[in-house]
């Protein structure tokens, strides 16, 4: 797994209080119990750490964690390049 994914998985586990071991790219947001409040909490933490703006509709159509971290990764890539 790319280091960027791992970094985001760590942050998701911490902010959404989810067991880090359950986080895989294939896991769905629903199966992980990631609800809308968890998502805005994670997004807030990402915006804080990487100083980025995450558009409100950024996750439209995203159902699995892979899609979730890919979307975030696209936004933060310029900041960690």
């Amino acid at each position: 797994m790319a280091s960027q994914d791992e970094e985001l998985f760590d942050l998701i586990a911490q902010e959404a209080l989810i067991d880090r071991g359950k986080l895989t790219r294939e896991a769905t947001l629903a199966d992980l119990g990631l609800d809308s409040v968890d998502i805005v909490t994670v997004v807030f933490a990402v915006e804080e750490r990487y100083q980025v703006e995450v558009p409100q509709d950024a996750f439209d159509g995203v159902t699995d964690l892979g899609g979730f971290v890919d979307t975030l990764g696209t936004l933060i890539a310029p900041k960690i390049a």
Binding site: Q14, E15, L17, V37, V40, T41, V43, F44, E47, E48
Partner: protein, 413 residues
């Protein structure tokens, strides 16, 4: 005077304060005369005025880690500090009570917690970002963290409590009213068991400045009923009790620690910060008469005892009015001198200490005492802990805005 129709007992207690992260730790420190009031620096950050240092009574160590260990799960920063206090204390109280809320009991269980304020740490953080840093980025969980009912909801969710769950707020009497309301729910058969108490976490730079602006805070650790007293000291913490009917406790083999025998509530309807003799007397009289306390040879009195000039003078006068010539038969403790003024959590933490003092037959000393004030000639426990013969605890809370609540507990024998 209203009397309980059912016998209501305390079967579990928890506390967290500057004196320790549990009820026994809090009680032991108070008995040993180890105060928790220390000088702390409060820094408003780069957008605020210069940092200030003032005495304050803050819970020691890592409260998040202690609460996570008690609950056996991660919490992180998901709730405000006042909810953490409530969760930790409730866990301890339920453990001591040996009460597992499952099955149908969940529907017959209540939570009533008192808070004078709300999630001030979270609110101040959000406002500092908005007004100070001038950013729209406030934490998305700010509202659920700040709301005054957050600790009650957190406790209900943690332990599966689905009956009446709400917060009470009456400034410094909030957890007194919470205990009284929890008992009323049980007495009126709206609940079989109740987790009651309160929590408070207001030691933030701007909130403390507001207390200072009111002229309520002493520059030294508070010295209740002492000559030279000039104000209170803010403390943070929380406490919880498990209340249930005696019948319910016996049916499940639980040992009562004390009986909640009487509650008295009154309003001065007079002044924001000045207390009234009549209001204080009415609350005490209600609790004592409701508990059928007559001609008791010795009561233990846990005074409101904030260390402000007016409160202590008024409370001493009220105790003289209630007990007449025999007012000095009753030892008086004022534990805010050790754990600070816990505001909405004051009654429950003082209740925990007072009940443990009845059990131990030993009363903790009033700290920081400089010498007698003729207006406060009570039978204060001074210097060191001392033996007591009391079987009854009278606990007072006389809050800003004139809201009063007195409670009477009986030692369980």
């Amino acid at each position: 005077m209203p009397r309980f129709q059912r016998r209501i007992v305390v079967t579990g207690m928890g506390a967290i304060s500057a004196l320790g992260l549990s009820a026994p730790a809090t009680f032991e420190a108070s008995l040993e005369g180890r105060g928790g009031i220390l000088d702390h620096e409060f820094d408003p950050g780069p957008n605020g005025p210069a940092p200030v240092t003032m005495p304050c009574a803050l819970a020691p160590g890592d409260v998040v880690a202690a609460t996570e260990e008690a609950l056996g799960r991660r919490i992180g920063g998901s709730v405000d500090l006042f909810s953490l206090f409530a969760l930790k204390a409730a866990r301890e109280a339920l453990d001591q009570a040996g009460l597992v809320v499952d099955g149908d009991l969940g529907d017959r269980a209540a939570v009533v917690l008192g808070h004078g304020f709300a999630g001030i740490h979270s609110l101040e953080t959000a406002y500092e970002r908005f007004f100070g840093q001038r950013t729209f980025k406030v934490h998305p969980m700010t509202v659920p963290r700040v709301m005054v009912s957050a600790p009650a909801s957190a406790v209900a969710m943690e332990f599966g409590i689905r009956g009446p769950v709400f917060a009470t707020s009456s400034a410094c009497a909030s957890s007194g009213h919470a205990i009284a309301q929890g008992a009323a729910l049980i007495d009126s058969d709206q609940a079989e068991v109740a987790v009651v108490g309160g929590a408070e976490a207001i030691a933030t730079p701007a909130c403390l400045r507001a207390w200072q602006a009111l002229g309520a805070i002493s520059a030294a650790p508070c010295r209740p009923f002492s000559s030279g007293r000039d104000g209170m000291t803010v403390g943070e913490g929380g406490g919880a009790m498990v209340l249930e009917t005696l019948e319910h406790a016996r049916a499940r083999g639980a040992r009562p620690i004390a009986e909640l025998a009487g509650t008295g509530m009154s309003s001065d309807a007079f002044h924001w910060t000045q207390p009234s003799l009549e209001g204080a007397c009415a609350a005490m009289r209600g609790a004592l008469e409701g508990a059928d306390v007559v001609d008791e040879s010795e009561l233990l009195i846990s005074a409101h005892g904030t260390g402000t000039p007016l409160n202590d003078k008024n409370e001493a006068a009220a105790l003289r009015a209630i007990f007449g010539e025999r007012f000095r038969d009753h030892p008086v403790i004022a534990t805010k001198s050790a754990h600070g003024h816990l505001i909405g959590a004051a009654s429950v933490v003082q209740g925990v200490i007072g009940i443990l003092a009845l059990e131990a037959r030993t009363a903790p000393p009033v700290l920081n005492y400089l010498g007698p004030d003729p207006d406060c000639d009570l039978e204060l426990v001074l210097g060191a802990a001392r033996p007591i013969g009391a079987d009854v605890l009278l606990l007072n809370a006389f809050a800003f805005g004139g809201l009063n609540c007195s409670l009477v507990f009986r030692r369980w024998t």
